[in-house]
Amino acid sequence: MHPSHFFSSSNVLIVAGKGGVGKTVTAAAVATAASRAGQSVLLVEVAGRSGAASLFGAVPKGYEESTVFEETEIDGIRHGSITLKSITPDAALMEWLETHGFKRLVGRMATTGLLEVVATATPGIKDLLILGRIKAFEEAGAYDLIVIDAPAAGHAVGFLRSPAGVRDAAKTGVLHRQAVEVLEMIGDPDRCKVMLVTIPEETPVNEMIETSFAIEEELGVHLGPAVVNSVLPDLDDLDHDLATLAAGADLELTDNERTALATAADFRAGRLRLQHEQLDRLGALLPLDQIRLPHRFGSSIGPDEIAELASVLTTAIEALPEEGDE
């Protein structure tokens, strides 16, 4: 599939997954790949402390929108801008009340602890209002694509279930209307899709399978390709004869080094075997296209690594079938 088709097939891409699978990194790579496909991108973090800014070599700006990459032309190809925005549940609730004619209530909320009562009376209200805020961005149309770094720790289903929950809890009132409108957005694949991220290990793979079925069948939200992060590159010929290891090379190896070579080869072979088991299992149990992102050896992740991951992502998207071709 052409990346520009992929990234313009929905207005909102929600990147979700269990904690520790590299969701923020994936969201940043998705934003970068979309920018290279000419889209102007808003990358929204909803989880609290912001981690995306440093991935773009920028300083976190808190809750202000901050553009970390300006629209530009590289080798005759237009790259869209990338803007970061952090939304917190409390801020979303306050902002929503203010813009819906409850300015007086906002003042009291802060001083009386009423916020907690409201949030308790209508579970899911904060998640709903974050989604509502995203919907407002989507409708305003200032960005071609909105990428969401969704809440961590397996809360993606709860996050996406919130509008239906609030719609049923608050049967009347402005909040009810808001819930209905957000439901329209997340249920429409032209407007919103979810990209789930996992790593090729047992528990995260199980979680992805469960979450996928919950999101698509129970919530009616559409899924994009499954992203498998941190995939170790294959190495052939890890079986070898220690004695012939360095044969022909102009290098003296100590016994310790020979042992280390064997240990490392065995360790890698073991990891690769487990990884293939999990990738096969995921492929067999989850009928989604897979996008695999490579494991990164060593140091921390910054702008260079994100650029590299974006290239891998773009290549993987190009390898996907065009919609309707399947």
Binding site: T112, E116, A152, G154, A170, L175, T263, L274, F297
Partner: protein, 364 residues
């Protein structure tokens, strides 16, 4: 303090905290197993274990009472997968003046939101269960596997969850109006409630008001309980153990956790770093040189595997050393990456051995 085994021996409560995806549940269960192996009566309270692990422990169902697990240890090992909602119901019944009051609360929809979906409820009920098990006197060590959260203090704040709601001026006004006290504050609050009804609907507001009214007379019981729970959490024999992995993002989170714990005048007694890569004994540069030399010859793949591993292990080690520096008094345990998820007692036993192995684990 020299090692993790000593830390366990000196503790009556171990709170395992940390972000998701770092092996916290496995570490918690293995910690309890280590204590049982040392002859103690140990119980682990878990929130949401992976299904295979839960099944193999015989705790596949939510429960409120510990299930004793048979095994070759001298002490006792028990586990409990916390049923948050029914634990909350029990707490309400315990504090209620009579069954009628308890029923009024348990049937209220606002209460169901509190007990079922409110964030912090899991932490709150885990602490409640801890309190209950601790005062039963049946256990030498209780290990709590905390819900995954970004904020270490969520667990410490949890016991105040209800009392904070009850400190709400709305609650005071709602209950005051029952006593016939109509004043300026009340009229203002009524105005707020009317506005609120326009936002969330009148039925929702009525349920909230009914909840607060039903709670009258129970506040002191809850407040006392919250106080005694906090005392248990700050007791010398309660140890906070931070569980992490050597990935840079989880270590950043771990450092944030440590700062937060310290800001509450508590200290992490232990730091467990799971998934450490095996040490190769070969330096990063030398490994890279070997890889370059062996390119194209037999063993090229092994050399690449060694170069990758040596570089990654050195990075992990540097990051973990950084973390150790920010918790100089904590026992640091490195648990090597295991070849498979732990989902049976044998696996847990191996982790328990690794936790308590006589490795040079104390930082200085």
């Amino acid at each position: 303090m020299t090692g993790f085994a000593e830390l366990l021996a000196e503790s009556q409560v171990v709170i395992c905290c940390g972000t998701g995806g770092v092996g916290k549940t496995t570490t918690s269960a293995a910690t309890a197993l280590a204590a049982a192996t040392a002859g103690r009566r140990a119980c682990v309270v878990t929130i949401d274990p992976a299904k295979r692990l839960a099944d193999s422990l015989g705790i596949g169902e939510l429960s409120n009472t510990p299930t004793v697990i048979d095994g070759p240890w001298d002490g006792t090992l028990a586990a409990l997968m916390l049923d948050t909602e029914s634990t909350f119901d029990e707490v309400v019944r315990r504090h209620a003046h009579d069954d009628a009051q308890a029923d009024r609360i348990l049937g209220n929809r606002f209460y169901k939101n509190v007990s079922g979906t409110l964030s912090g409820t899991q932490d709150y009920m885990a602490v409640e269960k801890l309190s209950e098990l601790s005062s039963s006197g049946e256990w030498d060590l209780i290990v709590v596997d905390t819900p995954p959260t970004r904020d270490a203090l969520a667990f410490l704040e949890a016991p105040k969850l209800l009392t904070r709601l009850l400190d709400n001026p709305i609650y005071k006004v709602v209950t005051a109006s029952n006593k016939g006290l109509i004043g300026v504050a009340n009229r203002a609050a009524q105005g707020v409630l009317r506005q609120l009804a326009r936002v969330v609907g009148a039925a929702v507001v009525d349920e909230a008001v009914a909840f607060f009214q039903a709670f009258q007379g129970m506040e002191d019981g809850f407040r006392d309980r919250a106080q005694s729970t906090l005392e248990l959490l700050s007791d010398d024999r309660t140890a906070f153990v931070l569980v992490a992995s050597p990935r840079s993002d989880t270590l950043d989170e771990a450092r944030y956790f440590l700062d937060r714990i310290r800001s509450a005048d508590l200290d992490a007694s232990g730091v467990v770093v799971n998934r450490m890569l095996p040490a190769t004994g070969v330096g990063t540069e030398r490994a890279a040189m070997i890889e370059a030399e062996l390119a194209g010859s037999p063993g090229a793949s092994a050399a690449t595997a060694l170069a990758d591993l040596a570089a990654a292990a050195a990075d992990d080690e540097a990051r973990v050393a950084d973390l150790a520096e920010s918790a100089p008094d904590a026992v640091l345990v490195r648990v090597p990456m295991l070849n498979d998820d732990v989902h049976d007692l044998d696996g847990l036993g191996r982790v328990a051995d690794l936790l308590t192995a006589d490795a040079p684990s104390a930082t200085s």
